[in-house]
């Protein structure tokens, strides 16, 4: 789960005593204009959970109330990276001396946390790391290991940070504490600014919470940004199903992520395009009835492949759900099955008797038939 900047600052950074600029969240141009009276010269920033705000024109400076209002007028309603801007953060404009980068994240390949720091803040860190690997300091540690003052100071040694060094070390320690306590996948401050008055302030913040840990971070769950979903994808999410709408016309229903991706691959290989990704693997295998309803609701679907290869997922239970949904919805598109694995005898019998359809022995043949039928 991703968080918009204002939520990450208010819910995560501020409680951990990391300084953030004075700011106000506004949803109209009038509010923004009024906020200027409190805040003064400011930056008006689009609040969407994506890093492409600056380039898209979603971040603007304002030196008067009228300018602030105009900036909000321009930004609100913009679409950035697929997200519609509905809120702006009006923040005091700081006098910046230097900009840094600081983050703690999960290093999936190393299977442990990683602390990152760079004196080249304000830019895409991937670009900095690619161009000049030495410019990014890395400190890997075990998940049960503390990140103390000594470790933080060691990371910053020799960077010429002067009086700011202890303050930055404190920020790194706090970031690590946030990472651990808040089940972060990523907590990133870019830029972390040293102001001309000597303060160290987080000008932006990116926070990604591990979705699997939501159950124990329930106070944060409501502050997260809504996922970018289509209406159908939202219906799937509400039913506990991972549904992704695509632009093809061959509908896909399969169990397990690997088999579903493979079904899509074979559709492409046979010259077709899938309508969707939808898998009912794991515990979701009992939801085939709802799942089929979703696939059939996709506007462009012209034919359907149902590909079951049951291990944990019982194909008889999945086929039963499919038959029920099919009889209820009575779709007028052709359907092609391939069914193997746990419960296959009962599943094949059900499909034969109830839908009068003969499953294919090879999924590739079922897919080819579905691709041909969709043409």
């Amino acid at each position: 789960m991703n968080f918009e900047e204002h939520a990450a600052k208010a819910k995560v950074l501020a409680p951990a005593s990391i300084a953030v600029p004075r700011g106000k969240l506004c949803i109209t141009a009038d509010e923004t204009e009024a906020a200027f009276a409190e805040i003064g010269p400011c930056v008006v920033k689009a609040q969407v959970p994506t890093g492409k705000r600056g380039k898209a024109g979603g971040i603007r400076k304002a030196d008067s109330a009228a300018e602030a209002g105009a900036a909000a007028q321009a930004i609100l309603g913009m679409e950035i990276d697929g997200y519609r801007v509905e809120k702006v953060l009006v923040e005091e404009r700081a006098e910046i001396a230097r900009e840094f980068y600081a983050a703690v994240l999960t290093d999936f390949a190393a299977r442990r946390p990683l602390v990152l720091f760079s004196t080249e803040g304000g830019m895409e860190i991937e670009e900095v790391a690619a161009a000049r690997p030495d410019a990014v300091r890395r400190h890997g540690l075990e998940v049960d290991q503390g990140f103390d003052d000594h470790a933080a100071r060691a990371m910053l040694a020799g960077l010429g940070l002067g009086d700011a060094e202890p303050k930055i070390a404190a920020v790194l320690k706090s970031l690590h504490a946030i990472y651990r306590a808040r089940d972060a996948e990523l907590i990133e401050i870019n830029p972390l600014a040293l102001l001309k008055d000597g303060r160290v302030v987080a000008l932006d913040c990116k926070f990604t919470l591990d979705d699997s840990a939501l159950f124990r971070q329930s106070d944060l769950a409501s502050a997260g940004a809504a996922e970018k979903l289509t209406a159908l994808e939202r219906r799937g999410a509400e039913a506990g199903l991972k549904f992704i709408e695509l632009d093809g016309n061959v509908g896909v229903l399969a169990n397990g992520a690997g088999l579903t991706m493979t079904t899509m691959d074979v559709i492409a290989h046979c010259g077709g395009k899938p309508t969707n990704f939808l898998e009912i693997g794991g515990e979701a295998y009992t939801k085939s009835e709802v799942a089929l309803g979703l696939v059939l609701s996709a506007p462009n679907v012209k034919s359907l492949v149902i590909n079951f290869c049951g291990a944990f997922a019982r194909t008889d239970v999945m086929a039963d759900g499919v038959v029920k949904a099919w009889k209820k919805l009575q779709p007028e598109i052709p359907v092609f099955f391939s069914i193997h694995g746990t419960g296959e005898n009962e599943a094949v019998k059900l499909v034969r008797e109830q839908l009068n359809v003969e499953p294919y022995d090879f999924m590739e043949d079922a897919v080819q038939a579905a691709v041909d039928a969709a043409r």
């Binding site: 390949a109 075990e142 998940v143 690997g258 088999l259 579903t260 991706m261 493979t262 691959d265 193997h340």
Partner: protein, 306 residues
């Protein structure tokens, strides 16, 4: 250790639940030696013919085991896994999906310190046809698994099942199936499984079933480059759009990292045959095995495809 053997003694954590019960029955039916299960509330009882113990340590004292498999929900997975590791288990099979990442890191760290192998999380388990299985695979289904000499490593359980089915239909049996799991952080990587199959005396060739996301296939390719045993691969996710998690938390392409093209070219550079659809696997394997048998006329030619 990550290749299951009939001699392995298996403890089932969460044996009394619905899935624990169903799959333990299947494992026993398939020949797996299940010494018992764990459920503190039902310690002392017998469940589906095996004893229930109060803890992993209690079980280790009364019915020593070397493999533990967990049917435990995500929030409770970490303490259960740490308990099993502390008991001295050699292999921990973690089936659970959606365990918090920091819990997974803690479990993998404890395992590394204790010298315990971990398979998963989010794995469907291990199958050795003719010997047994551990997990939630149709190891008991003779249409899908048949004893033989081809090792299969797969991130996905469902796709791995399809691949074994295709092999069996083509008359090619399997020496071992190693399901490594669909999570981005797992105890046994594709490369680890490939090494185990390379060292396994009963395995003559390997099918590597990967998917987009991460860099495990690229890392496995580095090892495959030095292997004598033929390797055939299928990578799922070629037609998946970037930036979206395709069901498995690990199956996401961001930028160029983890892309289909990166994996395919790394594997092909290592001499691995990468096929376009699962149906092509048996034929590609047979060609590789025949080619190898022709080059090395040692009388050990594998009977592949009949």
């Amino acid at each position: 250790m990550i290749i299951h053997r009939k001699a392995h003694r298996v403890l089932v954590s969460g044996i009394t639940g619905k899935q624990g019960t169903f799959w333990t029955e299947k494992m026993i039916e398939c020949g797996t030696c299940v010494v018992g299960g764990v459920n503190p509330k039902r310690a002392g009882e017998t469940h589906i013919g095996v004893p229930v113990f109060a803890s992993a340590a209690d079980a280790m004292a009364k019915a020593p085991y070397d493999t533990a498999v967990m049917f435990i929900p995500p929030a409770l997975a970490k303490p259960a896994a740490l308990e099993a590791i502390a008991s001295g288990v050699k292999l921990l099979v973690m089936l659970t999906e959606h365990i918090p990442a920091q819990d997974v890191m803690a479990v993998l760290l404890a395992a590394r310190r204790a010298g315990t192998h971990v398979v998963g999380p989010n794995t469907a388990g291990l199958v050795t046809p003719g010997e047994g299985f551990v997990g939630i695979m149709p190891g008991h289904n003779p249409n899908i698994f048949r004893p033989g000499s081809v090792g299969v490593v797969s991130r996905s359980g469902s796709l791995g099942t399809l691949v074994c089915l295709n092999l069996t239909r083509a008359g090619i049996g399997q020496s071992a199936f190693i399901g490594i799991g669909g999570d981005p952080m797992i105890g046994t990587t594709t490369r680890d499984a490939l090494i185990a199959l390379d060292k396994d005396g009963r395995t003559e060739a390997v099918v590597l079933v990967g998917e987009i996301g991460g860099a495990m296939e690229e890392s496995a390719a580095e090892y495959a480059a030095g292997m004598e045993k033929p390797v055939v691969a299928f990578i799922a996710g070629r037609a998946s759009p970037p930036g979206k998690k395709m069901g498995h938390a690990g199956a996401i392409v961001t930028g160029t990292a983890g892309s289909y093209d990166s994996k395919r070219s790394a594997l092909e550079r290592a001499g691995v045959v990468v096929v376009d659809t699962p149906r092509d696997i048996p034929a590609a394997l047979s060609r590789r095995l025949e080619g190898r048998a022709a080059r090395e006329p040692r009388g050990s030619a594998v009977q592949a495809g009949r």
